[in-house]
């Protein structure tokens, strides 16, 4: 298996893990928080809110800006 395929396989693995975790979190009585609950908790503090939004801003600028 090539390095290219292994690298892409890793991304897909984490994507599937994230989707699976979120699906588990939506089951009643689950001890796993949803991704939304995680963001809400992190963004409850001003520091966390600015850090997450700065990451979002960086993402857009990284893909499109000089």
């Amino acid at each position: 298996m090539s390095s290219h395929a292994i690298t892409i396989g890793g991304y897909l693995l984490f994507l599937v893990l994230g989707i699976g975790l979120n699906a588990l979190a939506h089951r009643s009585g689950s001890v796993i928080p949803t991704m939304g609950a995680m963001f809400t908790r992190i963004m409850h503090s001003r520091t966390g809110r600015i850090a997450v939004v700065a990451w979002w801003a960086w993402l857009g600028m990284h893909l499109f800006s000089k």
Binding site: H4, F14, S30, P33, M43, R46, A54, W58, M61, F64
Partner: protein
């Protein structure tokens, strides 16, 4: 305006729900117009920096906390999410550092931005990604 006030997070969310349709139309128009700009051009840079900067300023200014504490999260659940996010970040960073240099892409060790290049090479691809980026920003603003 309630969305940008220092009121509770619940009120902000309610106000944002009322703005959903105008925001959708504006977001679509933005994505179509800015998607027609070449990547890394000055028009694209300015057009993306405006909402990015506005988002950070609003995040700084808006009261983040609601009057009630958010639900407490179990350690096991937080750890599970940490594995996903830290793992994915480490995987991306590993691919980045396995490139010949930080500014030279590698087919063998593609980063997510490298994988996104074919999508972002076309106007429809850029428009879809820009709309998704804005939608994610909206989602975060509701948190």
């Amino acid at each position: 305006m309630a969305v940008f006030s220092h009121e509770s997070a619940e009120r902000r969310r309610a106000a944002m729900t009322g703005l959903l349709i105008p925001a959708l139309i504006t977001g679509l128009a933005y994505a179509l117009v800015v998607g027609s700009f070449q990547r890394y051009s000055w028009p694209a840079t300015i057009a993306v920096c405006i909402p990015a900067a506005a988002g950070v300023i609003v995040a700084w200014w808006v009261s983040a906390g609601s009057e009630s504490e958010p639900e407490r999260l179990g350690r096991a659940g937080v750890a599970a999410w940490a594995v996903v996010w830290v793992g994915a970040s480490a995987w991306e960073l590993t691919a980045l550092y396995l490139q010949p240099s930080l500014s030279t892409d590698s087919y063998a060790h593609p980063t997510l931005s490298y994988l996104a290049d074919p999508v972002l090479a076309s106007v429809p691809g850029r428009a879809v990604v820009l709309f998704g980026w804005l939608a994610f920003g909206w989602y975060l603003a509701r948190r």
